[in-house]
Symmetry: C2
Subunit: 222 residues, 2 copies
């Protein structure tokens, strides 16, 4: 069976987990404490980060975008990127929006301050960084609402990798209790639809020792 | 004709320029001063960054990875990502290495300190940031040398988007005179092969007003 090296609150690992589940591909999860910089793991991925997917034949794949494209090519049903080149460009643009822009402006900051500092024993979180991330998230939720108001799913009529990437990042922030859902109705309804998908069930069942999610986290009707 | 909105010393814009040239696609360049946050430009790309490629039919594409995948799908000859899913995953992994890791650790720092500060009138560069980037670059040049010692091109036997991404970032750093070529023979020989390609000619002819490139910059035999 394939193995996914991951971290519980890493949005990129979560994105790949949901893609694997949407495509009905079996896999087992292994937590990789990337900060240990284990030699065997660096052989699999010289960049040293998760996710890393090891296929049954031993092929090691890294970088979440490369992994998702590989899965789309080797397990094309259901397609998650789009049919025409234009649709596919739109999906990839939005994936990059969440993986690059949302990550840099919101999820990376909150993970660094609220999770990594604790794991690495780096002291109290920097409240200025957290405040900035919590201010930035509104623009992104507005953008999700705007897209969800104009399209059935974020990149078009079909569920795509754009929805999965956005939901992966938001699910981590939601686990930390930091998504202001009440101010963003359309984004909330879109996320409720994601939460009700079987592919998202494992994400909602995640429970990180010593870090309890708020009650609404796992509830599709929040 | 298609239009590429770009900035002269933006590695992502350079990557797309070289891909367009390798695929023999005509385009005209338009400089977009992204810091002006022009409304018409934000309509083309809400993320507000370059490159943005506007196709002849008016379709606006953004995010350099999405643009390169679009060009690979619509103008597949010559292929620049690889043939098998495994080859393609390796190309994409390396593109991401340079666009994410090299950018964060090297090129973004040098561009921010040496170029953007001047354009935006933000005072003298931060020498600590520059020193860190100049220390980091050695690991990346070692990695390029390692790959070039074991493969004909960085991702395998054929020239690929991995070579183009790496060269795009390095060309910007080289324009600033900051690539320690003398310490990295194999990387230097690989880059000399890239420099001699017709698709790279326009990049080597770039001349940014008020910022002169070192003499070796345009010389394939450096």
């Amino acid at each position: 069976m394939r193995t996914l090296f991951h971290l519980w609150l890493d949005p990129f690992s979560r994105k790949v987990r949901v893609v694997l589940a949407e495509k009905n591909l079996d896999f087992k999860l292994t937590v990789e404490q990337v900060w240990d910089r284990r030699t065997d793991f660096l052989t699999l991925n010289p960049a040293g980060d998760v996710p890393v997917l090891v296929e049954e034949d031993g092929t090691a794949l890294s970088d979440s975008a490369a992994i998702c494209e590989f899965l789309e090519e080797t397990a094309p049903d259901p397609g998650l990127i789009g049919k025409t080149p234009g649709e596919r460009a739109e999906t990839r643009r939005l994936v990059s929006w969440f993986d690059r822009k949302f990550y840099e402006e919101v999820s990376e900051c909150l993970i660094a301050e609220k999770v990594m500092r604790r794991i690495l024993g780096q002291g109290a979180p920097d409240s200025r960084v957290i405040r900035a991330a919590l201010a930035n998230i509104h623009t992104h939720l507005d953008y999700i609402s705007h897209l969800a108001d104009h399209r059935h799913w974020l990149a078009g009529e079909e569920l795509s990798l754009a929805d999965i990437a956005a939901a992966a990042h938001l699910s981590v922030v939601d686990y930390l209790g930091d998504v202001p859902w009440a101010d963003h109705e359309s984004a909330k309804h879109w996320y409720a639809r994601i939460k009700s998908r079987p592919s998202f069930r494992a994400i909602l069942a995640d429970s990180i020792p010593g870090l309890t999610a708020p009650k609404h986290y796992a509830n599709p009707d929040f």
